[in-house]
C-alpha cells in the first residue's frame, strides 16, 4: 500500500525524473570540508526563518509592547528563551558562516568565469545577512536598539545631498518613534527575507548550471576559451553524485553547527534585554552586537576630518569592490599559492576585524560614567591638600577618563605614576589648557582646587621614586 502511495506521489511530483537528477548532479570528486560553509549558511538561514516565525507568533512590533512581549517570550513562554537563544546564536552563526564561505570562494578563485553571477548573488546575500543582523538587533527595543536606530539615522544623514531625506526614510518620520520600529520589523521579517529567498534560489540554480567549482590547482589558470570544456572533461573523469557522496559532509557540518547553536541557546541563553527603549533615559551606553562592533570601533578611532568620507565611502567602496571583483579578476590563476595578495587581503581583513572587535569590547575611548571613588590604596595617607585634590579629581570628571591604580576610564593616559613623568608646572598647564581630547579646565577650577589636584597628581609616583622639581 505504502509503495503504491509512494509511486503515485512520485509520478505526480516527478521526483525521480526531475528532482533526483538535480540533487544527484555530478560534483568534483575532490570537494572537501572547505566546501561545507555555503550549505551550512543555508541551513542557518532556514533555522532563522523557523525560529523567526515562531517568535513572530508572540512578538508585538509596536514601541509600547515590543519590549514587554519579548520579555514575556524570554521569561514566561514555554521554551521561549531557547527559541530566542537559537535565533540569537543562529544569527551569529549565519554571519560567521557566510563570511567564511565568501572568504573560501575568494581564496579558491571560485568567483571567476563562469561563476560571476554566483559571486554577485552571494555578495548581495552577504549584505542582506548583515542587514538582517542589524534590523534584528533593533527589534529588541531596548536602549541599545533605540540608540542604534538614532546612530543609523545619523549615519544616513551624512550622505551628501540626500542625507536628511534618507534619515527620514530610515526612521519613517522626523524622529525615532512609533513608525520606526514597524518599518524595521517589516524590513526584517518580510522585505529582506523575500529578497534572500529569491537570491538563494538564483544562487542554487547557478550552482546547478555551472557546477561546483573544482578545487584549484596551481598552474591551471582559468581560460575563458577552454574552461567549460576542461571542467566537463574533469567531471567526466573525476565526479561523484552530490547526494550522498558530497552532501554527507554538508549534513554532518550543518548538524554540528546546529548542535553548537542549540547548546549555546540552552546553556548561555539569549542576551539580556537590559532597559526598555526610552528616549528620556539618557543613562545609556549603547553598543552594537559583535558583528558591527568593529565598525563602531573604527568610527571612534578615525581622525574626525575623515569621518564623513569614511561613513559614506567605506561601505560604498567595499560594496563596489566586491561586486566588481569577478569582472576585475575573472580569469587567471585560482590557487591561493599563486595569489599571495588575495591571501594577504583576507588575512589582513580578518585580523583587522578581529582586533577592532576586541578593541570595541574594551572601548577605551568611552569615558567610564560610573567610575566611582578612587580606591582606598590611592587616597589613604594623603596630605590634606592632596586628599582634597583626590576629591576634585573625582568630582570634576577626571576619574571618568583617567585610570589610577586600575580604577577609572581609559580615555586619557593612565595617571598611576604621572608624578614621575610630569612636573607640577607641566601638570598645571595640561589641566588648564586641555588637549585634543581633554577639556580645558581653566574656567572650571578655583586656584585652590587646581593646586590641590596638582598636588595629588604630583605625588603619583612609583614606590620609592623621587623627582627633582
Amino acid at each position: 500500500m505504502l509503495r503504491r502511495v509512494a509511486a503515485w506521489l512520485d509520478d505526480r511530483l516527478g521526483f525521480s525524473s526531475s528532482i533526483l537528477p538535480l540533487i544527484r548532479h555530478p560534483v568534483p570528486r575532490d570537494v572537501n570540508w572547505w566546501y561545507v560553509f555555503g550549505s551550512a549558511t543555508l541551513v542557518a538561514f532556514a533555522v532563522q526563518v523557523l525560529t523567526g516565525v515562531a517568535l513572530a507568533f508572540t512578538y508585538v512590533p509596536a514601541p509600547n509592547s515590543a519590549y514587554e512581549s519579548l520579555r514575556w517570550i524570554t521569561q514566561d513562554a514555554v521554551l521561549g528563551s531557547v527559541v530566542r537563544g537559537i535565533h540569537y546564536f543562529g544569527a551569529s552563526a549565519m554571519v560567521i558562516l557566510i563570511v567564511v564561505h565568501a572568504a573560501r570562494v575568494f581564496l579558491m578563485g571560485a568567483f571567476k568565469y563562469p561563476r560571476e553571477l554566483s559571486w554577485l548573488t552571494g555578495t548581495l546575500l552577504l549584505f542582506l545577512t548583515l542587514g538582517m543582523a542589524f534590523t534584528g538587533q533593533l527589534l529588541r527595543w531596548n536602549q541599545d536598539a533605540y540608540w542604534a536606530m538614532v546612530v543609523a539615522a545619523e549615519m544616513a544623514g551624512r550622505v551628501p545631498f540626500v542625507g536628511p531625506v534618507l534619515t527620514q526614510l530610515v526612521v519613517a518620520g522626523q524622529t525615532v518613534g512609533g513608525a520606526t520600529l514597524t518599518r524595521f520589523y517589516a524590513t526584517h521579517v518580510f522585505l529582506f527575507p523575500a529578497l534572500m529567498f529569491i537570491l538563494i534560489a538564483v544562487h542554487l540554480y547557478l550552482v546547478i548550471r555551472h557546477g561546483i567549482s573544482e578545487p584549484p590547482r596551481a598552474g591551471e589558470p582559468v581560460d575563458r576559451a577552454t574552461y567549460r570544456e576542461r571542467y566537463h572533461a574533469y567531471l567526466a573523469k573525476r565526479s561523484v553524485p552530490f547526494w550522498p557522496d558530497a552532501a554527507w559532509r554538508d549534513v554532518v557540518f550543518a548538524l554540528a553547527v546546529g548542535a553548537g547553536v542549540l547548546l549555546l541557546a540552552v546553556v548561555v541563553g539569549p542576551p539580556d534585554l537590559g532597559k526598555q527603549a526610552d528616549p528620556t533615559l539618557i543613562e545609556a551606553d549603547p553598543r552594537p552586537d559583535w558583528y558591527f562592533l568593529w565598525y563602531f570601533a573604527l568610527l571612534a578611532l578615525l581622525p574626525p576630518p575623515l569621518e564623513n568620507l569614511f561613513i559614506v565611502g567605506f561601505p560604498l567602496l567595499v560594496g563596489v569592490l566586491l561586486l566588481a571583483l569577478p569582472f576585475l579578476a575573472g580569469d587567471g590563476e585560482r590557487h591561493p599559492a599563486r595569489r599571495p595578495w588575495a591571501v594577504a587581503a583576507v588575512a589582513l581583513a580578518f585580523l583587522t576585524i578581529g582586533v577592532l572587535i576586541h578593541v570595541g569590547y574594551e572601548a577605551p575611548w568611552s569615558p567610564v560614567l560610573d567610575a566611582g571613588p578612587l580606591p582606598p590604596s590611592v587616597v589613604e595617607g594623603l596630605s590634606p591638600t592632596a586628599a582634597r585634590g583626590a576629591r576634585v579629581f573625582e568630582e570634576k570628571g577626571c576619574h571618568n577618563c583617567h585610570r589610577i591604580a586600575g580604577s577609572g576610564g581609559r580615555r586619557g593616559p593612565d595617571l598611576t605614576t604621572i608624578g614621575d613623568r610630569l612636573s607640577r608646572s607641566q601638570l598645571t598647564a595640561r589641566i588648564m589648557n586641555g588637549g585634543a581630547i581633554m577639556p580645558a579646565y581653566a574656567g572650571n577650577l578655583t586656584p585652590a582646587d587646581l593646586e590641590a589636584v596638582v598636588d595629588f597628581l604630583a605625588q603619583r609616583r612609583p614606590p620609592g621614586a623621587t623627582r627633582a622639581e
Binding site: A62, P63, N64, S65, Y146, W147, V150, V151, A153, E154, M155, G157, R158, G163, V165, T167, Q168, L169, V171, A172, G173, Q174, T175, V176, G177, G178, A179, T180, A277, D278, P279, T280, I282, E283, A284, D285, P286, F296, L299, A300, P304, E307, N308, W365, S366, P367, L369, E395, K396, G397, N400, R411, G434, G435, A436, I437, M438, P439, A440, N444
Partner: protein
C-alpha cells in the same frame, strides 16, 4: 518599409506591456505610502517645558518634551529628552541630548561642568562647545522663548551632525 509585427511578437509585447503597466499602477500607492514621511513633514510647534521659576540660574537639568505627532502606539517614544540651561532671568539655552558625532545621548556632569558622550568619548562644555573628542560641532540647540512665565522650545526633527 518596416516589417509587420508577427502575431506572437505582438502578443508578447501586449502581455509584457500590460504587466508592466499594472506593476506601475500598483506601485504608485505603495511607494507613496512608504515615502509618506517625506510627503508629510511634522509641524514645528512651540512646546511647554516648564515654568521659568522652576529652573535655577546657572544650572543644567534634564527635561522631557512631547513629540509633536506621535502615533497612538508610540509608547515611551512619544516623549524625548532635552538639556535645559538657564543662563539669565529670561535667558535659556536648550540642547538636544544627541551627541553631534553620531547621536548618542550625552550626560551632564554638574561638578565637572561637562557633557560626556558614552559612545565615542565626545566632551562638551556647559555652553555646548566641543571640549574634546570626535564631535564635529557644538551640541544642537532648540529655539526657545518665554511665554506667560513658561519656557517653550520649538520642536525639531532629529538633529543631524
Amino acid at each position: 518599409m518596416a516589417e509587420p509585427i508577427g502575431r506572437r511578437r505582438f502578443l508578447e509585447c501586449l502581455s509584457l506591456g500590460l504587466s508592466g503597466l499594472a506593476a506601475a499602477v500598483v506601485s504608485v500607492p505603495i511607494l507613496s505610502y512608504l515615502l509618506s514621511p517625506l510627503l508629510r513633514p511634522a509641524p514645528r510647534l512651540w512646546l511647554d517645558v516648564g515654568a521659568v521659576d522652576t529652573f535655577a540660574i546657572g544650572q543644567t537639568v534634564l527635561r522631557t518634551i512631547p513629540e509633536v505627532s506621535p502615533l497612538p502606539w508610540a509608547g515611551q517614544t512619544a516623549e524625548t529628552a532635552i538639556w535645559v540651561r538657564r543662563t539669565g532671568a529670561q535667558e535659556f539655552t536648550v540642547f538636544a541630548v544627541n551627541c553631534t558625532h553620531l547621536g548618542c545621548p550625552v550626560n551632564w556632569r554638574p561638578e565637572a561642568g561637562l557633557f560626556l558622550c558614552p559612545c565615542h568619548g565626545g566632551v562638551y562644555y556647559a555652553d555646548g562647545r566641543v571640549a574634546g573628542g570626535p564631535p564635529p560641532r557644538p551640541l544642537f540647540r532648540y529655539e526657545t522663548r518665554v511665554e506667560g512665565g513658561q519656557l517653550q522650545v520649538r520642536s525639531q526633527p532629529l538633529p543631524i551632525g
